[in-house]
Chain length 339, copies 2
């Protein structure tokens, strides 16, 4: 790659010592240098097209101004907004983001973690559900600063930024109750994930509160296919026993759509469906999906804010930030059918 000028070149051009040039160019040390010298050095730097070599700086300062972001899969539509939120906060502050995908594979997660460590990232933002408490405690003991986003690990030593899952599920159940539904089904995601557990518990509680009957079935992953096969299995032995579905997320809801169609059921006429996340294009599905909007971009922003604070300020206590969610009513929910 290009042979860009170094600080020595700038110093020579300005007729000062290397260290003077360094101080002149550095925000925090330029006060030590006389204004004329600063001007001279800045001009030389500009003339030569000097840009700092962050690798060299990083070696000396032990700060790379790089944050590692660990996600399961960037093609899952909820993650790009999170990543952009992180980036939008960090970018203007001189930080860059290294994104890795683990596909929820612990082996892959370990490898990527090692790779990020080798690269001397200043901190980690973890969005994978899989990472268990032992690993996290381990990270913490190694002195690694990190923040969880969209997932929380109860008892984990790190701050977390999450959506208010429980009240989201509540909103969904209340909406169905108001439409006259009595018998509901919840599709829950993998048990390792904290969101799965939170949402499932909230579902049970909300059903009880509203005096509804609520069943729960498990999905092996947060994917369309997993949702579809779980729903297929359910419908094969329980046709016409429920009128409303609260899916663990939008992908599962989409799987439910497919399954309903395959079983000759219409949404929302026969069965109402509610998703979670309000993923991009949820409004363009068939039918447009009623769902809980979780502020993913904002979650990214908040996670970035916290980690920067931990890196540059002093370590705060492991706070938990819970962002509010809202119900978006679209075409997949309707008045309950008599069954």
């Amino acid at each position: 790659m290009g042979n860009r000028p170094t600080l020595i070149d700038v110093a020579k051009a300005a007729g000062v010592h290397l260290s003077t040039a360094s101080r002149a160019l550095n925000e925090s040390t330029s006060a030590q240098i006389s204004p004329e010298t600063v001007k001279k050095v800045s001009k030389a730097a500009r003339d030569l097209g000097y840009t700092i070599n962050t690798v060299a700086r990083g070696l000396r300062t032990k700060r790379t101004q790089t944050i590692g972001v660990i996600v399961p899969d960037l093609t899952n539509p909820i993650f790009p907004p999170i990543v952009r939120g992180i980036d939008s906060f960090l970018g203007p502050r001189g930080y860059s983001v290294l994104v890795v995908n683990t596909d929820n594979d612990p082996e892959s997660e370990r490898n990527h973690f090692e790779s990020l460590m080798r690269r001397q990232v200043d901190g980690l933002i973890i969005a994978t559900g899989h990472t268990d408490k032992i690993i996290l405690a381990n990270y913490h003991n190694q002195g690694i600063t990190a923040v969880m986003v969209n997932r929380e690990a109860a008892g984990a030593p790190y701050p977390a930024v999450v959506g208010d899952d429980a009240s989201g599920i509540n909103l969904g159940v209340a909406h169905l109750a108001a439409l006259g539904h009595k018998k509901l089904l919840h599709l829950t995601g993998p048990a390792e994930s904290s969101t799965s557990r939170t949402r499932a518990q909230a579902f049970s509680a909300a059903c009880k509160n509203h005096g509804l009957q609520g069943k729960i079935i498990k999905c092996s992953a947060y994917s369309i296919d997993a949702g579809q096969s779980a729903m297929d299995k359910f419908l094969n032995q329980n046709l016409h026993t429920i009128t409303g579905v609260v899916a663990g997320n939008d992908l599962l809801a989409l799987g439910v759509y497919h399954s309903l169609r395959a079983h000759g059921l219409k949404c929302p006429q026969d069965v109402s469906v509610i998703g979670f996340n309000n993923m991009p294009f949820a409004n363009d599905f068939q039918p447009p999906l009623t769902t809980i909007d979780a502020p993913h971009y904002e979650m990214g922003v908040q996670a970035a804010r916290i980690i920067l604070n931990e890196i540059e300020g002093e370590a705060s206590s492991p706070v938990k930030i819970m962002l509010p969610v809202t119900l978006i009513v679209r075409g997949s929910t309707a008045v309950a059918k008599k069954i």
Copy 2:
């Protein structure tokens, strides 16, 4: 972050000199060291939990094993697959990926470019349509190695990996022709983008070939809103003058959906619509979108392959790789309505 052991610690533990430890641990130099010494050093490294500091190595070797990926917007669903394709090829080969979003803003693009340079990336994969030939030539003069993906700049000094846009559009037009459509409309994207021009030209050519009437309208961006407003404008003065639409991409097609609905037209009964890209969830739209599948993941893989070749091998001539596309027929196209 953690105080990990350095090479000196390993060398001491193994009772050898720093440089010997370095050579022992390095694939390409370990042959210079006696097998027993290599074993001793490896054991010491393992025992201490040593991992190399890539920042220090990067300073010395002038290779950071990092590739910068410049995209307009990660939340645009075609980019995550590209990024994952890149990552899947580069990751196992020891490279990491720094993704930046420009939002198609030249100022932002320049800033991000500078940031990547400061970080000493080994190469750039550019997926932004906006980057013009002058800038690219400029990069090239600075000795920067780069590859274009999903966009090509004719006459640019860099290799490019693209989908076969022209034959994709051909497939679409042929499909509509076979369904009896006579009057078609093409929504083209921003003129700066090479794909826009290629697709528009292919559309005109294909219409001529099939003896069809083909109109073209421009959209200000590749977005739902831009597609909708362009289509609105068209329909307001040209209701019932076309029966088929070939959109510049899936997002524009979605905009067309919205516009048709607002004008009381049904897809596909009144108007057939074809998209481009086969973005995720295109099958779940209302109606499921007939579209051209472009192999984005594979494009990422190929771009990564080429750039690694340029970095590690010798610079090849600026090749252009054109990946085949296929027509995916779903529910948005039907036999033409009489108008």
